[in-house]
Symmetry: C2
Subunit: 320 residues, 2 copies
């Protein structure tokens, strides 16, 4: 079967197509025929060698959707023919077939396409964990999604709106602002702090209950000035140090929380995806926005696009 | 009645003794004959004019203990003759008599002296809130009390030990280290990061579940390196900016929390003092350490001592 295979860390060009033997599943494993694969920024970080724990060679990817074609005798909750999506896998998701364990796959709602399903795992998992497991978001609260036009940001906007929260989002371009509006943000403003500070304070003058922060190294210091009493800043992304004034946290009884989705426990992931299923199937939440689709063999181009900055979910599709 | 009265912000010398009329209580108020008054660092900050919200003239002080001598008709939970201590008051606590509302006073455990009672309000309130309301401390967890020899630090050490936590405390002097040991810390190390880093890592190599931080502007960056998975840094004090690396929070799914005790709601304060009562009366926790005692009229000297750095609780006593 065709896979993408990385033998050395480096630029997008290290994503080579390779024929590997069809993997054999163990008693507690499931084999999926892949229909769509989600490309995430984290895939590009790992490919670059930026993550210290990563090992070569490997098949990249965490997200995908497809149809179950084989299951081990210890699997009771899924059947051959089920439409599913995964977050994490045993074998890597940039492949025509994927081996997963239970706890890595979830039923795909009937009203979502495979492309939409491949867009759920990492971005919706991260957005749900940020808003609810970390920020303890409640109906009617005010939330700032700082960096709203990426896939985690768009998922966070939709999740927040599904709970009638008041959502302010920031984006860097007109196209990004348009996506935030489409996702349901009440107010969308330019990324640059100088631009948006006054605009935000006109709209919300008593601070945000939750700030979802995609770029903490740039914004954390200013975020502290936008906080309401008892509020939370949840950090989804950061690339360096940032000075903060802890007295801002003290006077607001506020908190700064960090997380990576890979630290989430199995029961927490199950909670996330059970709730996402309900939101999608009930149509209380619109499906993910799918952007450009590439053939699996063109993973190089897909990574190059994600690194330049893409709009909507970048998807790979195998030939099968 | 004699009070301490501040007409202008400034050094300890602005704490003048003054005769004021005995205040009249309203229907929902209580009059206390003061037996001991607790001096807190925050009293010196307010006296200096460092707090923007403060107004002159005023009677200083938040903590005191005494005996109820009069109560309004709407007060049901307390009676004349009750031994009580307060946190906050209507009239200021540096006085021979104090007016308080319900929600500002608590019954003094029979086995505590008035001096010990005057040492509870602010320091034990802050330590309890830091450890339990913010840090969600659990039996057997590992806690670093960074700045353990002050009154909040010593209270935090005792509270943590009453729950069988493993406590590492830092202090700047031999006298301070001795107090931390006496309060029950398992390991006491020098304040200076260079000194203690290795010593701590030898004792606890998988990080702390909770760090109680009295000096965030100095230590927050390094604290992040001492954190266990899912841990919390709770900031009790800070005097300036500090650079942090948010990725340290992300990789540990950790949080930084700030608070000031004045933001606590009435039901939260009741919870704190109900639990403190149980801990003191059951002798699961030793009484507060009382340091030097001054006459009320010598409040100047008491503030000067607190500003130099004192050991144990500094107390004022009125003549009555």
């Amino acid at each position: 079967m065709k896979t993408i295979y990385v033998e050395n860390f480096g630029g997008p060009e290290v994503l080579a197509i390779k024929d590997l033997d069809l993997p054999k599943i163990k008693d507690d494993e499931i084999l999926i025929k892949t229909m769509a694969i989600g490309v995430n920024p984290v895939d590009t970080y790992i490919r670059s060698g930026w993550y210290s724990g990563s090992k070569i060679p490997y098949v990249p990817g965490f997200d995908a959707s497809g149809i179950i074609i084989e299951k081990g005798p210890k699997i009771n909750d899924f059947n051959v023919g089920n439409r599913v999506y995964c977050f994490k896998s045993v074998s890597g998701t940039y492949a025509e077939k994927i081996v997963v364990k239970q706890g890595q796959i979830y039923k795909l709602p009937d009203n979502l396409s495979f492309e939409e399903g491949a867009a759920i795992g990492t971005p919706y998992g991260a957005a749900y964990r940020a808003l609810f497991h970390k920020g303890h978001a409640k109906n009617g609260q005010k939330v700032l999604i700082h960096g709203g036009s990426g896939n985690v940001g768009l998922a966070a906007i939709k999740l927040a709106k599904s709970l009638n929260m008041i959502v302010v989002a920031t984006a860097g371009s007109e196209e990004g602002k348009g996506l935030c509006k489409e996702a349901g943000a009440n107010l969308v403003v330019g990324h640059n702090i100088e631009d948006f500070k006054e605009e935000i304070l006109k709209f919300i003058n008593d601070g945000f209950d939750i700030i979802i922060e995609m770029s903490a190294h740039n914004n954390l210091k200013t975020d502290l000035e936008f906080m309401a009493m008892y509020s939370a800043i949840v950090i989804v992304g950061s690339k360096g140090e940032v000075p903060i004034n802890p007295r801002n946290l003290m006077s607001k009884d506020a908190r700064i929380m960090g997380f990576v989705l890979f630290n989430a426990k199995n029961d927490e992931l199950l909670d996330i995806h059970r709730n996402l299923f309900e939101l999608f199937i009930s149509k209380r939440m619109k499906p993910p926005i799918v952007g450009k689709t590439f053939n699996l063999r063109d993973a190089k181009e897909a990574h190059a696009l994600v690194e330049r900055g893409s709009y909507g979910k970048v998807i790979l599709k195998p030939d099968n």
